[in-house]
């Protein structure tokens, strides 16, 4: 295979693949919709796809389980094929690469040399730092060295999943290998953290296509997470929220409440403390999400979630917008209500009223 000339734009490639302009515009509209953009921004998407060459991506794997790659290829809009063949140039990726060994390392060095400041470094997993980094080596060198060498000339870094963003399971106590997330090892580079174990597929492709479309990083919060996907708690938009507000909870697995789909808070659900899009996008093209299939959220996109207490233990406090209510306080309200013979639904009503009030305060505070 010969390599010739300047990389082509996404539109060039799509057109070459037999996609006519009408279909191309439809594709851009869907892409914009997938990113939650207003229809007025579609022309910007079109422009970006027409004029930007495919950006080289180096996708490294450190200490990890490859669930991020697996999630990535589950993306339904856009599908993985479109991303890999039409949108980015996935020049290095252990999991899918045809070449191996020296041939693949040669590619990595070549991209660094020929596209300094232009390529994206995507990192899945993290680097062990104990004992000189011997707990993960690639091509005879430590992953730590490979990561640093590749990051040095990257345009920016995408830290896929909780391993790369937060450390995840191998950095849970006592962190035997000294595994550290990317942002603790790489400095002076823009880093987008995309946490989750794994992240939702469409969040992953959404982050990439946002950058390709607008030519800039998405707006990030203080943990370097894209605000567009990580600004809200799962609890805030959970379809079972009404049961929480009404005081209707699953009390034991497989009980009547479980069959009716009541709130899983008492089973340890971490939805109230977890920032992610699960309750809005859902998983695998909207089929379900953990709570929707009867198990509480384990908080897999939160920092240090493996060490935040056994995930079947009820949360000690439930953050709701504007207040930090403790479950004991809520339970206390219920108990008092029951004690004086007031119907349970009245207690629920009181709780709900309190929450409504607190939401109101929250809104005011934001204003």
């Amino acid at each position: 295979m010969s390599s010739s000339g300047r990389p082509k734009t996404t539109y060039d490639v799509l057109r070459a693949h037999g996609v006519d302009r009408r279909k191309f515009l439809k594709f851009c509209t869907l892409t914009a919709a997938a990113m939650g953009l207003d229809v007025s921004l579609v022309p910007k998407v079109v422009e970006a796809m027409e004029t930007k060459p495919r950006i080289p991506v180096i996708w490294l794997h450190g200490l990890e389980c490859t669930c991020c790659s697996e999630s990535f290829i589950r993306s339904s809009h856009p599908i993985a094929q479109d991303v890999i063949l039409n949108m980015i140039s996935l020049d290095y990726d252990d999991t899918l690469q045809a070449a191996a060994g020296e041939q693949v390392e040669e590619i990595r060095r070549k991209v660094i040399k020929e596209h300094p400041g232009e390529y994206v470094l995507a990192v899945e997993g993290n680097a062990p730092t104990n004992d000189g980094g011997v707990y993960c080596t690639v091509g005879g060198d430590t992953f730590l060295n490979v990561l640093r060498e590749t990051a040095e000339h990257a345009k920016f870094v995408v830290a896929w999943g909780s391993c790369a963003s937060n450390g995840c399971v191998q950095s849970a106590y006592p962190n035997p290998t000294g595994a550290k997330p990317v942002h603790e090892l790489i400095h002076g580079k823009p880093i987008i953290n995309v946490p989750g174990c794994p992240p939702i597929a469409e969040v992953m492709t959404g982050v990439l296509t946002y950058v390709l479309t607008f030519g800039r990083l998405p707006e990030l919060d203080r943990f370097h997470r894209p605000k567009m996907f990580y600004a809200q708690r799962i609890h805030d938009k959970c379809y079972r929220r009404a049961y929480f507000d009404a005081g209707q909870f699953v009390e034991t697995w497989d009980d009547d409440g479980a069959r009716k789909g009541w709130c899983l808070y008492k089973m340890g659900c971490r939805g109230p403390t977890t920032y992610n899009s699960c309750s809005t996008f859902k998983w695998n093209n909207g089929v379900s999400y953990p709570i929707g299939s009867g198990h509480g959220c384990i908080g897999c996109s939160e920092n240090n979630f493996w060490d935040n207490g056994p995930f079947y233990d009820r949360l000690a406090s439930i953050p709701v917008p504007g207040i930090e209510a403790t479950p004991d306080a809520i339970g206390g309200t219920l108990a008092i209500a029951a004690g004086v013979g007031v119907a349970a639904h009245f207690a629920s009503f009181m709780v709900k009223k309190g929450l409504d009030r607190s939401r109101g305060q929250d809104t005011e505070a934001e204003e």
């Binding site: 037999g18 990890e64 490859t66 999630s71 045809a98 191996a100 041939q103 697995w253 479980a258 695998n284």
Partner: protein, 574 residues
Amino acid sequence: MTAQRVVVDPVTRIEGHLRIEAMLDGKGTIQDAMSSGTMWRGIEIILRDRDPRTAWAYCERICGVCTTVHALASVRTVENAVGITVPPNADIIRNIMFLTQYVQDHVIHFYHLHALDWVDVVSALSADPAATAALAQKVSPHWPKATTGYFSDVAATLKRFVDSGQLGIFANAYWGHPAYKLPAEANLMAVAHYLEALKWQKEIAKIHTIFGGKNPHPNYLVGGMACAVDMQSDNAINMERLNYVKGLITQAQGIVENLYIPDLLAVASFYPEWTTYGGGLGNYMSYGDLPQNGIGDPSSFLFPRGVILDKDLSTVIEVDPTDPEQIREQVAHSWYTYPAGTEGLHPWDGVTEPNYTGPKPPYKQLDENGQYSWLKAPRWRDKAMEVGPLARVLIGFASGRDEFKEVVTEALGRLKIPAAALFSTLGRTAARGLETRLAAHWLRAEFDRLVANIKAGDQRVADTSRWEPATWPAECKGFGFTEAPRGALGHWVHIKDGKIANYQAVVPSTWNASPKDGKGQHGAYEAALLGTPMADPKRPVEILRTIHSFDPCLACASHVFGPDGEKLAEVVVR
């Protein structure tokens, strides 16, 4: 050609980090080989003192490619320790998730991790679309996308992609290597189906999402499953959800029967010499799985349990993973230390003390006479064993199970090869396809069983009588297992006062990718490489073929801690 050492690191299109070093003689034939796992995470150490009911989630993160398998082994382990029998629906739903994983994982392996060892993408550029359509119709009469127009589009897509100069994952590979034997049309057909399979794999995964809330890494539960079943609820597993699952199963059966198997047999027919390379150890082991009458009754398993030694299909030997005399791990060539005078330890008594003695990175080569891997060397009665699809199919066949005999006999007949051809690289790759046929068939059977059980009035999915640790004995031990897509997987737990005192796993890729043991016996990968001729040692297609035929999964390769929570014992997970 002079004698030389070939190093492949990283081995790509696998899970995790694997390094292969092969020593070639003057004729380019592999005389010795080293398999080195180059990552270690220590997840079993991390599990100590945690709530055993949460162990499945930590264990599940051992691997995201074979997602679910460690979670399944883990919940079974804890249930075994504390004495829980899950309701039939839970067993069946777990079986459905297990089989979903098989079908998804094996199809992905064939097309996206293994096919490029046999399929030359560049050669596909010169294919005639009409001839490709004719070939495709002949190979698989019931697969609809087999028209000249369809293959013209695929060819155009490929050509423009190559012309763009940005070759992405296909760059710098081994195209044009003399080991590639498929005609251009077969290559184009395979490239088209690579893309079809990539589009489809996200669909079958939805079965995990329905029952477990997400994929990768769906949720499990000690005591059963968390997805309540209620035909009268719009918020549980109900008719709508069951219909969704049924549709996905039907679609998967179509993919297996009309895409995967025809492609597998078509590709295999061009590589008869690969039924003579890559056989390796000739010892096979399976723990068995797919309970039809509860996990406590191995005789009911659809995948039978057993051991085959020295390729002798006339005898299936019993295996007991809880017997300290049978399974032991050695560390003679692994980066760990054992107490002086200890050769092998059963997982119950395992010790994991990492002790890196390899060269300081960056290094050029490892020392085959020293320690050279983060993997231990598990052995069954001191013998190295191969686990995985070939082991399961051979054990099913040798156990006289009709379903196995049927698919094996049919495939051998179509390829016109003898049963002995199964002991090879291609045999291993074919066995994976054959058991996928069974898996797709069983998937529907398990679905029907679930419906029948619900129809009989049983909607239970969990036994919560021993959910609270207060109901457990003060101290207990448990063993759980599964047949992961890559082979026999065992977890061992020791629970004290409601917490994990010791957790250990011995995983499939540890068996297969293990380094040599104290007696110098090679692991399965190493043994399978011996005697293979390489046409061009700088472009190691032959090594990749055999290693990929095992479907390596290295992330699981970790070790754990000691028996009483005192010492580091070990768990090998991959």
